[in-house]
């Protein structure tokens, strides 16, 4: 049963809640208690912008069981416009279209299902811009 853990992650999964260091502007996604860059413990709560670009990517062809019906599954490291980085699936495209440097937009999708009877887990995925 994963619902306590899932519920706790909602601020990040649903609206990309992050912390911005008030000293050095480092963006912590997910939020942290201490800045890894400057050691400050003061953060301002922000939501990352849902747009960014692909830093690197792959297309997973052999997936863990949960994702085995979704292959080939493009996944990328994405840098948001603020400079924060995250890993997300790139969906609704031909895997051949995914390339380093391409612009993406983050959207809201179902990421995993806890079997046939458990909860559905939502969060961010990316689609190619334009």
């Amino acid at each position: 049963m994963i619902t306590p853990r899932y519920t706790r992650e909602i601020p990040q999964r649903y609206h990309l809640e992050a912390g911005k260091c008030t000293e050095c502007n480092f963006i912590a996604f997910p939020p942290r208690l201490i800045c890894p860059e400057c050691g400050s413990r003061e953060f301002e709560q922000i939501s990352l912008s849902p747009s960014g670009k692909i830093v690197t990517y792959t297309v997973v062809c052999v997936a863990a069981e949960e994702f085995s019906t979704e292959t080939p599954l493009p996944i990328a490291i994405i840098e948001t416009d603020e400079g924060a980085r995250l890993t997300a699936q790139v969906v609704d495209c031909d895997p051949e279209e995914v390339e380093i440097g391409k612009r993406v937009r983050l959207i809201f999708r179902c990421i995993q299902k806890e079997g046939l009877a458990g909860i559905r887990q939502y969060g961010y995925k990316a689609v190619l811009e334009g």
């Binding site: 909602i10 609704d92 031909d94 809201f108 179902c110």
Partner: protein
């Protein structure tokens, strides 16, 4: 003045052609296309459901409404494909949009009219002054059993509407509902696909309710077909809305802008609401729109809308319906479609 202050539609990118489904079942595609007046339909991605469709449509509605989503006092999602039987769709949506916790949330179900039902109740809250803004959504990932006639049309998509009293885009001039107990189409608890009464879904169900609601709202509002620039009726297929419209005295030209079923299919609770959004791609200030939904079981909600000057300010703040319908389509074959829709028997 109370009415719609923000609206948005969302359609998945995936499509399947009617020929593809027909050939799977050894049926003649031409006969089916001519019978239904449908060419292709939308298919939800494997990670899309009523909730994700509603979230995207609602985000576009908020963009057009230019409001802080926190000010929305109620969110109602109407659908017959809520991903959970028990646990609301709307709670996911409010957290995704940053609404609440000061918000009233409920999921509606009334076959294909659950969406207009949601809009109807949202409108009542705002008009009565209980809250400043309320949102009603109609969305579905419609189910149709493999090989059933419904499989040719059951599609995915939805539209969201924010009701308010400032910067109104579409004034609601009149509302009316026509309801009776008519079991033309249903899905029992625990069943995956709906059942329907075949030809019984026509005259005694769709036409009786749609025409009943259409006639009565025009009568009460003192309007005739010629007083409207557009009319949209629930679209289970291409023929029914055209026939209903003509019976009520509308011309093809008034119906066509919102007649989205030939290239979208029947998005159930999202059908007539999305037809309305399609009209807003082209509607001009001062124009009047009639909307009549239909939900099996059965009932119709009817609305008379009048377009205001605000339409020009908000139209381009989110993607047009035309772009959602026509751009970036990805076609599936029947095997992919069956996989996407969970129609393949798996071991897990």
């Amino acid at each position: 003045m109370t009415g719609i202050v923000g609206y948005g539609a969302y359609l998945p990118r995936y499509r399947i052609k009617i020929e593809e489904i027909a050939s799977q079942w050894g049926k003649d595609p031409t006969t089916i296309k001519n019978g239904l007046l449908v060419h292709e339909k939308t298919v939800p991605g494997m990670d899309e459901d009523t909730i994700t469709i509603s979230v995207q449509a609602a985000k576009y509605a908020v963009q057009r409404a230019r409001i802080d989503p926190q000010e929305i006092g109620a969110v109602y999602i109407g659908s017959e494909s809520h991903p959970y039987v028990v646990k609301p769709s709307g709670t996911v949506l409010i957290d995704a949009l940053g609404i609440g916790p000061d918000v009233h949330v409920a999921d509606y179900e009334f076959a294909c009219k659950a969406g207009t039902e949601a809009v109807f109740v949202a409108y009542s809250h705002v008009k009565s002054g209980v809250m400043r803004y309320a949102m009603g959504i109609g969305a579905d990932t419609s189910q149709g059993a493999p090989g059933d006639a419904l499989e040719f049309t059951a599609s995915a998509g939805g539209s969201a509407f924010i009701i308010g009293s400032e910067k109104v885009v579409l004034e609601i001039e009149a509302t009316y509902s026509y309801t009776s107990d008519t079991a033309d189409f249903w899905r029992r608890e625990g069943r995956v696909y709906p059942e329907h009464g075949g030809r019984f879904t026509g005259e005694p169900a769709y036409f009786r309710h749609v025409l009943g609601a259409g006639r009565e709202i025009m009568e009460r509002a003192g309007l005739e077909a010629k007083d409207f620039d557009y009319a949209v009726f629930h679209m289970p297929n291409g023929k029914f809305p055209m026939k209903a419209g003509r019976t009520l005295g509308f011309e093809k030209e008034q119906i066509e802008p919102g007649w989205v079923v030939p290239w979208m299919g029947n998005t159930y609770s999202g059908s007539s609401p999305t037809g309305l959004v399609a009209i807003l791609d082209v509607a001009r200030p001062g124009e009047r729109i009639l909307l009549v939904s239909f939900g099996s079981g059965a009932g119709s909600d009817a609305f008379v809308f009048k377009v205001t000057e605000e339409i020009e300010a908000v139209r381009d703040l989110a993607p047009s319906f035309k772009s959602l319908l026509e751009e970036n389509k990805i076609y599936l074959n029947y095997g992919e479609y069956a996989k996407f829709r969970g129609k393949i028997l798996m071991n897990t």
